[in-house]
Structure formats: structure tokens, C-alpha cells
């Protein structure tokens, strides 16, 4: 038995037997010692021969099966599935985009309707409602109804007969000395009925009142003039009157 063989016993040889021919699995000196042991041990030599036979057979088997691959019908089926998936994905994307567009359209519509509704509810831009405006509900503090409402007179002007119920609004500019008379605002329709309407006392710019034909020349240097507005049920100003023209008994 050589000196090299003495360094490896059969158990160690058996442990590394399957690694001997695998590239990189063993260090060269260890492989050399194993080969030297096999030369001196017939049992281990037989083991090594069997392993080499097994490795060769496995390599032969691997070589024979290396060219195996799935039939072409598998590739065709997969390509068909790929196209089907892509079409389905495209349909889903279109559906999502349509849904997003519909949502956006609905949102815009809702916002538009909301803005329009608010615009309708807001008073006319010409009327500058002062912060200190006193809003009075007709049920709690009804404004003094026009004491003398010469409605249905021969003149073009019509006065508000009653501020709260069934008010008829004049159709033409009022004369400056007509006390407690409401003047119909230009954009309102004739014979507006103000069921459930509200009288609101506000201050408005003199220029705006002058544009309605109200006599505001004798209000001194005040730029803002107190007025009563008749608001319809939807909040739209319908008629106006100057507060200072009224007698004290008619004031709230």
C-alpha cells in the first residue's frame, strides 16, 4: 500500500466517491488520494467503476433526451392564449377608460348643476347685500306691509299690495314720493306672486339703486342706502323699496 493510500480509508473514499468526477467538487490532492486508495483497494475500485458506469449512463441518457421538447401544438396553443389574454386585457382597459370618462362626466354634470343651482339662489349681482343686513323671516318679524298700495292705478306703476302673500309688483319705475311702495326689479315677470316671500333689509350702493330708477338723490353723501328687498321663495330678489321714504310707523 502506497504512502498516499494510507492517508484515506474506505469510509472517506465512500463519502467522496460521487464527487470525484464532478468538476470543482473536490480539490485535486484529495481526488488524487482517492484514486490512489482505489488502486490499492479492490472493493473501492469496484465501487469507483460502478460510479463511473452510472455517470456514463446518466450522461448518455442526458444526451439522448437533450433534444426533447414539447410538440409544436403546445406553442400554438400558448400563442393563441397569449392573444386571447391580450384582447381581454385591451377590453378591460377600454372598459376602465369608459368608466373613468363616465365618472368624470357625471362629476362635471353634478358640479355644473350644483353651481347653477347656487347661482339661481344667489341674489342679483347688482344688489350688494351688506354684512349687517337684517334678515327677517316673515313668520317672526314681518315687514310692515305697504300701508297705501295704490295698485291697479291708472299709472304704469304697480305697488306691492302685500309683502308676504300674493304680492303684486309694479311694472314701471316708481315716483319718488310714493311711500311704502315696492318697485318691481327689472328682470322679474309682471304680477309676480310672492307667496312665502321674505323681506330683507340691506344696504345697497346708491348707483345700483339709481339704476333701478329709485330716487336716491336726497340721501346726502351716503354711498350705501338702506332698502327693503322682497325675496321670492327661491331667494331671488323680486322688488325693492327705499326705507327712508317710509314713514316711521311703517318701519320695523
Amino acid at each position: 500500500m502506497s504512502e498516499k493510500a494510507k492517508t484515506m480509508d474506505c469510509d472517506t473514499f465512500k463519502e467522496i466517491l460521487h464527487q470525484m468526477n464532478r468538476p470543482g467538487a473536490l480539490e485535486s490532492p484529495e481526488s488524487d488520494r482517492a484514486l490512489a486508495h482505489a488502486e490499492s483497494c479492490s472493493h473501492c475500485a469496484e465501487q469507483l467503476m460502478h460510479v463511473e458506469w452510472l455517470e456514463f449512463s446518466l450522461a448518455k441518457y442526458a444526451e439522448q433526451s437533450a433534444t426533447l421538447q414539447a410538440p409544436s401544438r403546445v406553442e400554438a396553443a400558448l400563442q393563441q392564449e397569449f392573444r386571447r389574454q391580450q384582447a381581454a386585457r385591451a377590453r378591460r382597459q377600454i372598459a376602465w377608460r369608459l368608466a373613468a370618462l363616465a365618472t368624470a362626466a357625471a362629476l362635471f354634470l353634478a358640479v355644473g348643476l350644483s353651481l347653477r343651482h347656487r347661482q339661481i339662489q344667489l341674489p342679483s349681482p347688482a344688489i350688494d347685500v351688506a354684512p349687517q343686513a337684517a334678515v327677517e323671516a316673515p313668520q317672526t318679524r314681518p315687514a310692515a306691509p305697504p300701508a297705501q298700495a295704490p295698485a291697479q292705478t291708472a299709472s304704469e306703476r304697480k305697488t306691492i299690495a302685500r309683502a308676504h302673500r300674493g304680492h303684486a309688483v309694479s311694472a314701471s319705475p316708481v315716483e319718488p314720493y310714493e311711500e311704502a311702495s315696492f318697485v318691481r326689479l327689472p328682470y322679474t315677470v309682471d304680477s309676480v306672486t310672492l307667496d312665502g316671500g321674505t323681506i330683507v333689509r340691506v344696504e345697497m350702493p346708491r348707483a345700483a339703486l339709481a339704476s333701478y330708477g329709485l330716487p336716491v338723490t336726497d340721501f346726502g353723501g351716503n354711498d350705501r342706502v338702506p332698502v327693503d328687498l322682497v325675496l321670492s321663495t327661491d331667494g331671488t330678489p323680486e322688488a325693492i323699496r327705499l326705507v327712508s321714504q317710509m314713514s316711521p310707523s311703517q318701519e320695523f
Binding site: H18, Q19, E46, M49, H50, V51, E52, W53, L54, E55, F56, S57, L58, A59, K60, Y61, A62, Q64, S65, A66, L68, Q69, A70, P71, V74, E75, A77, L78, Q79, E81, F82, R83, Q85, Q86, R89
Partner: protein
Amino acid sequence: MVMKLAMELNDDGLLRRMSAGDEDAFTLLYRRRHPAIYRFALHMSGNPSVAEDVTQEVFMTLIRDPQRFDPARGTLGGYLYGIARNHLRKRWEQDRHSVPLADDSDSLGLVFGKPAVPANGNGNGHGPIPDSHDLLNSLETVGRVRQAIGTLPENYREVVVLCELEEMSYEEAAAALECPVGTIRSRLHRARTLLLEKLRIPAAKTRTAVGP
């Protein structure tokens, strides 16, 4: 077009293009990867029909949800092997009567163009190891080895298929099977020992057959 893609893109690049709807990229990826998956399924199941189904299912999974593959967790090859293993296990669970290779009617033998070698008298496929020089090119030897591989437990069969037949390194096999390299090494050692035991005859007969 496909050739240009093949030269320019690795697996990850092809997968990205495939995810974006590029059919050429998918075709190239399939042609590049499917033979190994098919062979793995074939060696593991011993049945070409099962191997075909498993291969198709593996790539169907990739088509339906390519985003499931995470390059940070491993290679695409390892991912595909993992899907193949899962499908094979499902098949075995669904059809417990179908035992791979050993009890099969050897449909795999038909793949190699030659009927399988019948088992020896002892009924377990064991037989003498003849003189290696006479058997080097013998299909019979290959057939016996193939049958012996088919009788290995699944864990051992996997490492034999990957390390011996697909010639993967321990590291590549470990990545494909999602286990440590040491496990691969020890399983392969045990699998080869089992293979030798299955192919071995009593020592006296071996010496008679092998040696003059």
C-alpha cells in the same frame, strides 16, 4: 425580429416586453425556456402527455400573470421549475393511481424510439452490470437507468434530473428547487447511492459479469 430580440434581450427583458403585449417576446421566451421545463416534467412524470400538459400550464401561468415573477427572488428558470413542480404534484394528487415510470407502461420508452427494457426476474428492475465497454452505446443501459431514476423518491429524482440530466450546478439546482446547496449535495449523494443499489446485482455475479 425574433432573432434580433434573442440577441438583445435576456429573460427579464423578454418578460417585460411580453408583459407589455409583445407576442414575439413571449414566443422567444417560450422557445428559450420550454425544452428544459418539458424535459424536467418528462423525467419527473415519465409520461410525455403529462409533460406536455405541465409545460403548457407553466407558460399559461406566465401569460396570465407575468407580474408574479419577482427577479429579486431568483431566476426566471427557477420560477418556472417551481411552477412545474407544483403542477406535477397536483397531477400526482389528482391521479394517485398513476405511478411515475416504474409502474408506468413506459410511455417514455416510446419517446426514445425503443420499448423499455423489461424488468429482470426479481421484478424490481435490478440486473447485472455488464461490461461497460459493451454497453457504452447501448439503449438498454439508458433504459435501465431511466427506470431506476423513475423509482427514486421525488426529492432525489429532482436533483438527479437537474444535476445529472440537465447538468445544472449545485447552486443552480438549489435556486430552482429553493433549498440550500448543502441539501442538493446530500440529496444527490443519496440519490446516486440508491441508483447504484437499484442497478446492482449480488457481488459474485457482478464480478463474473464485469471481470474476466
